[in-house]
């Protein structure tokens, strides 16, 4: 019961944060609201017994990536989004329709049980708590998932080089 209450509390926090991201006129407040959402999600991962993912969510997502966003927002000194006509007439209505359409599609997939059929994996909660969540992830990263792991390294390297090359001042 307590963990269920915990879930609903975090669900409300996360949803309010997500609505605030879309609704706040100032990008700075949007970034701060997204940090709230990410912290709520970290709590949800904890309630799903995914401790490693929860910690990474706090350290990498809510801290490092969001710090990058905050830095850029303050660097280019963004104010509020100007109150101006949107380019498309009825763009807000279009957004609501698109959101509702995506939501109903996702619900239809999620609430059909076909994704839950098939045999279960080899990591029931007792085994995970016995071996340790982080230990299992470390093991899997260097055995079953070693190719994606290496590709991830290449991707991050390309990302760093690309960001430096793009944002550097052109010397003339």
């Amino acid at each position: 019961m307590a963990s269920s209450l915990f879930f609903y509390f975090l669900a409300v926090v996360t949803t309010v944060g997500a609505i605030a991201v879309v609704a706040f006129p100032s990008p700075l407040y949007s970034v701060l609201a997204l940090i709230l959402t990410f912290l709520g999600l970290a709590g949800l991962y904890l309630s799903l017994h995914a401790q490693f993912v929860a910690i990474v969510q706090v350290i990498i997502y809510a801290s490092a990536i969001m710090m990058l966003f905050l830095f850029v927002v303050m660097l280019i000194n963004l104010g509020r989004e100007e109150k101006r006509e949107l380019r498309l007439p009825g763009q807000k209505l279009l957004g609501a329709i698109a959101g509702l359409a995506v939501f109903s599609m996702l619900l239809k997939v999620f609430l059909s049980t076909s994704l839950m059929t098939g045999k279960k994996g080899s990591f029931p909660p007792e085994r995970v708590s016995e071996l340790g969540n982080t230990q299992i992830i470390g093991n899997l990263l260097l055995t079953d998932y070693v190719l994606p792991f290496q590709a991830m390294g290449v991707l991050l390297f390309v990302g760093i080089v690309g960001a430096v090359v793009l944002a550097r001042r052109r010397s003339r």
Binding site: V21, L44, I137
Partner: protein
């Protein structure tokens, strides 16, 4: 513990709010934020399914999604800074150099 469906509904809510933000907002940074929101909605579904199917694959995929999100944020923000330097604005409606 809350049932799987509730986690999935929350994940769908987060993803759809991200879609709404991408369509409605004009500021490039907020659009990137909304894309991050959509990725996190997907992550929540991955972790929830992994938990209820006794699998670690969901958490592994989330780990890789986070790496992709970090790279995407770095490149996206570099492009935003570049656009701001050229046009003094991050408004997506003003970025129309390729338009005839």
């Amino acid at each position: 513990m809350a049932p799987l469906e509730h986690y999935l509904i929350l994940s769908a809510v987060l993803f759809s709010l991200g879609v709404v933000g991408v369509v409605v907002r004009r500021n490039a940074i907020v659009v990137i934020l909304c894309i991050e929101l959509m990725m996190n909605g997907a992550n929540l579904a991955f972790v929830a399914y992994g938990r209820f199917l006794d699998s670690m694959a969901g958490q592994m995929i989330v780990f890789f999604v986070m790496a992709v999100a970090a790279a995407e944020a770095a490149i996206g923000l570099a492009i935003v800074v570049l656009i701001y330097r050229n046009r003094e604005s991050t408004d997506l409606d003003e970025i129309n150099l390729l338009k005839l």
